[in-house]
């Protein structure tokens, strides 16, 4: 019904023509709006009118400009950080301990026998360039199969343009003639670091310019057409790298169970454990196989059981461990540094020891005070981080350990994925994608070349960096490390006795200073420092700032905006009505006016209405004109328009109801 009424009224209005003019509307608006400026425009003299008009315009534009800035600020999604420091009961970090050496040499000797003999012979050749007959006579013939896959060569760069390549096991110099030309092309390889190898020094180290190089033939092991020589300025490094490549290839063929068996067992390695006042033993540690370090043991990983809490600072309430690394059983060529490798990390995360791990030296007591440095960030759109790694386009290979996402896991997975795509096999140091095997020299003869070119490829590194995202909650364990000699000379004797007895049930001392490590890991007095982010600009902030701006310049509010919108709608109405009446006017150009007298226009009515004169007057305010008799004058005019009424009712169309 209402709708019908509304349409009828609208129709009538259209029929009658405009009741308002634009000017009237504007004047009405200015007079009645709640915004502060416009009222002034119509109230005072022309000079002030002008000033107020410009002021209002200026303020309006200021408001819009500042609104623009505010909205821009809001859309940039800034954050504010708050920092809190203190001590609270926290989850004790997961502690991973490994031996720096992955396998017991006594267990892997049979696999590495050939390799070790080869490297010993090679070292013999390198250190004494003139072959001594005695050594060759004693040893059985070397298995040069391994050698030919990745040989070690010496490059003599006395003559820069024509370097001489010497295969260590080729005795005759003549055979090098054709190889030297091959080397010539590739020697100035595109390695960034050793780029212009041949440019700078030449005379100074003449007597030992012979550089050790690693040649990795790709196609076949005889015709080395496509060779990359990896330069080493030091023989020690060349030998180590070469040995690692070879042993990786050998060990990758060994099944996992066997590899675990060859590593250090928990009961051999973890001699004593104390957590706070609670005794613990090797059974409290979770075994994990780490390709770099063999068997690693994780305390408080939180995979099966609840993570332990620590509610007291200080060494007495932390973890105390005594480890044995049995340095005598190290693989001599594989790792030259001896000690335990340990790392503190979050529960359910994979320990990346090469990145975050620290060493603990044998024969010392290492105390580690821990401060948990947390950074809690807001996700998209505030910063480009990932909550759980599900939105990262790299398949996380470490998920097979049931561990959470981390940037290291992502980078390694990314590398391994590239490796399995390009080289057709996976690198031994990283978990395998589905359906891919580890690289070894027999099945993938060119893998070492492929690997080293991939490893040094800046392009692939960048791809991985770009596709991996850091996690939003970044936890770091800040460590304060201090060391002391342990055991002291006075206590050495009984400590070794007890530990030997407990381990081997023997009365003899089976341990020594070179193998034994004491670790204390505990929370510091302040154990957390949390930086958490919160949005700097919320929608509430935006609204109050917008309101503040509008209010500051013009005293306006949302209602004022609505008023303004209303005026626009009204003026649209006026336009429509004007157009219609104009069309009507064209049709009935000569039509007679229906009324002899034109009804009062709204403008007149408005003027009368807005006239400040039509207000209640104080009687006393009227100045009496003295001397005039109180004659009865004309009765006061019957101004029905003087009554304050809404305009619409007053309008000419109101009588249609």
């Amino acid at each position: 019904m209402n709708l019908k009424k509304y349409f009828i009224r609208a129709l009538h209005r259209l029929q009658k023509g405009p009741g308002y003019t634009y000017k009237e509307l504007l004047v009405w608006y200015c007079d009645n709006t709640n915004t502060h400026g416009p009222k002034r425009i119509i109230k005072e003299g022309p000079k002030k009118k002008l000033i107020w008009f410009f002021l209002t315009l200026l303020f309006a534009s200021l408001v819009f400009w500042q609104w623009g800035i505010l909205i821009n600020t809001y859309l940039s999604y800034n954050v504010t950080s708050s920092l809190s420091i203190g001590f609270k009961t926290m989850k004790f970090p997961a502690v991973t301990v490994c031996n720096a050496n992955p396998f017991k040499y006594s267990e892997v000797k049979h696999l590495l026998k050939e390799l070790d003999r080869l490297i010993e012979a090679a070292l013999e050749r390198i250190l004494q360039p003139t072959p001594s007959n005695s050594s060759e006579n004693i040893s059985p013939p070397l298995d040069l199969e391994l050698w030919h896959q990745i040989p070690l060569v010496l490059i003599d760069e006395h003559d820069k343009d024509n370097p001489i390549i010497l295969d260590i096991f080729e005795s005759n110099q003549g055979a090098m003639g054709n190889q030297s030309t091959v080397g010539n092309e590739t020697i100035a390889g595109n390695e960034t670091i050793a780029g212009n190898e041949t440019s700078a020094d030449n005379q100074t180290t003449v007597d030992y310019e012979a550089t050790c190089l690693l040649c990795v033939p790709q196609c076949s092991h005889q015709g080395s057409d496509n060779c990359t020589y990896r330069n080493f300025t030091s023989a020690a490094q060349a030998v180590t790298e070469w040995y690692i490549l070879q042993s990786t290839s050998i060990l990758s063929k060994v099944p996992l169970q066997e590899r675990i068996r060859m590593g250090y067992q928990a009961e051999d390695m973890i001699l004593a454990c104390l957590y706070g006042a609670e005794p613990c033993n090797y059974k409290n540690f979770t075994q994990i196989y780490h390709p770099d370090h063999g068997n690693c043991y994780i305390f408080n990983w939180g995979m099966d059981e609840e993570a332990l809490n620590s509610s007291n600072p200080g060494a007495e309430f932390g973890l105390k461990l005594i480890l044995d690394i049995s340095q005598q059983d190290y693989i001599p060529y594989l790792s030259s540094a001896a000690g335990a490798r340990l790392m503190l990390h979050q529960q359910k995360s994979f320990p990346f020891l090469k990145d975050q791990g620290i060493y603990a030296m044998a024969g010392t007591e290492t105390s580690i005070g821990v401060l948990v440095d947390e950074l809690e960030r807001m996700g998209y759109p505030y910063s480009d981080c990932t909550m759980n790694g599900s939105d990262v386009p790299v398949k996380n290979l470490y998920s097979q350990y049931n561990t959470s996402y981390s940037i290291q896991a992502c980078l390694r997975s990314c590398f391994q994925n590239h490796m399995s795509e390009i080289c057709g096999c996976g690198h031994y140091m990283f978990p395998l994608p589905e359906g891919v095997n580890y690289c070894n020299n027999e099945d993938n003869p060119g893998w070492a070349y492929c690997y080293s070119s991939l490893r040094s490829s800046i392009k692939y590194r960048q791809i991985c960096i770009d596709s991996c995202k850091e996690t939003c909650n970044d936890t770091q364990y800040k460590m304060t490390i201090s060391m002391a000699d342990w055991p002291s000379e006075a206590s050495e004797d009984w400590i070794f006795h007890i530990l030997s007895y407990e381990r081997d049930m023997s009365t003899n001392v089976t341990l020594d200073r070179n193998g034994i490590i004491k670790l204390n890991i505990y929370f510091q007095e302040y154990n957390y420092r949390t930086i958490s982010e919160s949005a700097a600009t919320t929608i509430v902030w935006l609204l109050s700032s917008l309101g503040g701006q509008f209010g500051f310049w013009m005293g306006g509010s949302v209602l004022c905006l609505i008023e303004f919108g209303e005026i626009i709608i009204d003026s649209l109405w006026i336009t429509i009505i004007n157009v219609i009446s104009w069309c009507k006017g064209l049709k009935q150009k000569r039509a007679q006016a229906r009324y002899p007298d034109a009804p009062p226009t709204v403008s007149e009515l408005v003027e009368a209405h807005t006239n400040l004169g039509f207000q209640h007057e104080d009687v006393g305010a009227l100045p009496r004109v003295e001397g005039l008799p109180p004659e009865p004058g004309t009765p006061p005019p019957n101004y029905d328009s003087l009554r304050v009424q809404p305009h619409d009712v007053l309008g000419p169309d109101s009588d249609t109801e």
Binding site: T73, T205, F352, Q356, T366, C468, Q476, F552
Partner: protein, 650 residues
């Protein structure tokens, strides 16, 4: 038409925009008008309210609202220059920092013999006299024999003294005679003069060469410190006379120091190191110094991808008095930073692999007016003597050096030379040691003003280091490792390497996360204004318009009303004096709308137009028109002044 165009325009302007005073005749009228018409909320209530109590309450409320606004806005203004901190973590390819490596011992002892033999002899002699200690009997005996003949000029310069009886008497080392102490006593080790009851305190005396009665005694609680400090003074004296080229030759070459080098999985050598001569540490080598314009970067974290070097530390060639520890010192710094290796270096042990994991943090402070820091150091009145970017350390050292040159006339050996100055040595500046010690004392006590002049740098990079040590080489790999490394070292070295001569160092990024801590302005002008607006709006629904209104009404209008009143009074008084007999007050009163004869045809009162007959021109007043004094627009005031009459008729 005869008027000049300029005059015409002014006339037109005068006509269209007439300059008129305020309409309100009196101040109270103006206030009333203001209160009724202002956009601010409280004022209207004051006028409209009936009853004194109510009005009083409203005045109180309005005033307290004004007070609140002023208070809150003052708070906002005061807090305008505050900064908020944001921490961002970005995972990216990181530039590798410069790593400067020094041997702890600055110069090869064997090659320094020519310069230091005299000094060493005397030091040994001192040790023998004080402690009855001698190493290598024959040597000492020889030196004892020479003792009397050479005359020991080192001891003449700075006598070593042994104090007895709570520092009251001293025994001179050279003459062995006792004497009383004159002058002040400075303790290097403790600030208390009588440190415990150790009655043999060792020290030395520094005298003003120009005025020998001006002496200062420096005492140490331990002879170790005294001897070292004494040795160091002489050592600097000697070294200051040796030209830089010679010193560089006397120190270690890159081949001497670096055995192997490996970076980012690739081999590197001495060409990746830049030599840097440090006055106290001799030749240091900076990896990735950025000197040739390229800075290496890492895109993979972890120990394999960082810098791995094996250093050769020739322990046998150490100076026994100058340095007492063995190893190397390293510092991780930015390419533009000067390595203050003596201040913030990390020591590296021999026969061990030191693994240093780095975590990169970049910080940025806001400079003035938020905090008192400097962006480039250009605004600091201390000349930067180091050829590196500004830091607080650089400023302090430069400041001290400048003070040294100003007051002692020569430069201290450990810091770079300012233009036109030269290093102090005893021959040219016999007084420098005394002067230096005095100055250093002042510097430490912050009396030189350096600490006040120098400001923090606004942005700095920091590499947080996690250092851990492993045994290296391991027991089983020691044999082949040392053999191969000896071969690497080449034929120059005849002896077999010992593992205590070697140090393995690994410097790598733990992760490639860059933490960037930056300060941002907590407030911008936009936010300040919106907060103002919020306050104004909340308490009084006021805006800038209200402020302009207040200025308009309270300053311009009120002032002009007061002025006008005074002017009219003066005029009245003048007129009254002139024409006392002609009272024309009625004339004035008959003007305006109150005049019953007055016909104002222009008034837009449509009732007159519609209904009322036009009043005829009659001298007699007929029925007066309705007495609507308010019918005229804009007449909010009961009284009307002649000059405001036509305002509003438009």
């Amino acid at each position: 038409s005869t008027m000049a165009p300029g005059k015409k325009i002014t006339a037109r302007i005068k006509r269209t925009l007439p300059v008129k005073g305020p309409q309100a005749p009196t101040l109270s009228e103006l206030m009333r008008w203001y209160c009724l018409n202002t956009n601010t909320h409280g004022c209207r209530r004051i006028v409209v309210s009936r009853g004194r109590l109510r009005r009083f309450i409203w005045i109180l409320l309005t005033l307290s609202a004004v007070g609140l606004i002023l208070w809150q806005c003052a708070e906002l203004l005061l807090n305008y220059y505050s900064a908020s901190v944001s921490v961002t973590v970005q995972f990216q390819k990181l530039p590798f920092p410069a790593v400067t490596i020094c041997n702890i011992n600055p110069y090869k002892y064997s090659s320094m013999k020519d310069y230091l033999s005299e000094l060493d002899k005397e030091t040994k002699k001192a040790l023998e006299t004080f402690y009855g200690f001698s190493e290598g009997k024959s040597k000492v005996r020889r030196s004892v024999d020479e003792w009397n003949s050479t005359g020991s000029h080192f001891f003449k310069q700075i006598p070593l003294l042994k104090f007895e009886d709570f520092s009251k008497t001293v025994i001179d080392l050279r003459s062995g005679q006792k004497r009383k102490i004159e002058g002040s006593v400075f303790h290097k080790d403790s600030s208390i003069v009588n440190s415990g009851d150790s009655n043999d305190i060792i020290g030395f005396q520094l005298c003003d060469a120009n005025n020998s009665s001006e002496c200062a005694l420096y005492t140490f609680s331990s002879g170790v410190n005294a001897i070292q400090e004494w040795y160091k003074l002489h050592y600097m004296n000697i070294m200051a006379q040796i030209p830089l080229e010679t010193k560089e030759k006397l120190s270690y070459s890159a081949d001497d120091l670096l055995l192997t080098c490996f970076f980012d999985g690739l081999s590197c050598d001495k060409r990746h190191f830049t030599r840097f001569h440090h006055p106290l540490h001799g030749n240091c080598y900076t990896f990735n110094s950025g000197e040739n314009g390229t800075v290496l970067s890492t895109s993979t974290g972890g120990s394999e991808y960082g810098l791995q070097v094996v250093l050769y530390i020739d322990e046998a060639d150490y100076n026994p008095f100058l340095v007492t520890s063995t190893g190397a010192k390293i510092i991780v710094h930015d390419q533009n930073e000067y390595p203050f290796i003596e201040d913030i270096g990390t020591e590296i042990e021999t026969a061990a692999a030191t693994s240093i994991g780095m975590h990169f943090t970049r910080s940025r402070k806001l400079s003035k007016p938020y905090s008192d820091c400097t962006e480039t150091g250009d605004d600091i009145p201390v000349e930067n003597l180091y050829n590196k970017s500004y830091s607080l350390q650089i400023c302090l050292h430069s400041c001290f050096q400048k003070a040294m040159v100003d007051s002692c006339g020569c430069a201290q050996y450990a810091q770079p030379l300012p233009a036109g100055a030269e290093y102090c040595n005893y021959k040219k500046n016999p007084n420098w040691m005394y002067c230096y010690y005095r100055l250093h004392e002042k510097f430490v006590k912050e009396q030189l003003g350096c600490q006040q002049i120098c400001k923090d740098a606004c942005s700095f990079k920091e590499w947080a280091l996690t250092t851990s040590i492993a045994q290296w080489p391991s027991a089983v790999s020691e044999d082949w490792m040392l053999r191969v490394l000896s071969w690497d070292k080449g034929q120059k070295l005849n002896k077999k390497l010992n593992k205590t001569d070697l140090a393995n160092l690994m410097v790598f990024y733990k992760d490639l996360n860059e933490r960037f801590i930056s300060e941002n302005p907590a407030n911008t002008l936009v936010i300040l204004l919106s907060n103002f607006g919020g306050q104004l709006g909340l308490w009084m629904s006021c805006s800038v318009v209200c402020v302009i209104e207040i200025v308009e009404v309270f300053f311009i209008d009120s002032l002009s009303i007061v002025m006008r009143r005074q002017w009219q009074k003066a005029k009245k008084w003048w007129n009254g004096r002139k024409t006392e007999r002609s009272p024309q007050v009625g004339d004035l009163e008959r003007q305006g709308h109150d005049n019953p004869v007055c016909i104002d045809e222009d008034l837009p009162t449509f009732n007159t137009a519609l209904r009322l007959p036009l009043p005829q021109d009659s001298p007699l007043p007929r029925t007066p028109p309705p007495n609507y004094s308010t019918l005229r627009l804009e007449t909010a005031f009961t009284e009307q002044l002649p000059d405001t009459l036509d305002v509003g008729q438009h």
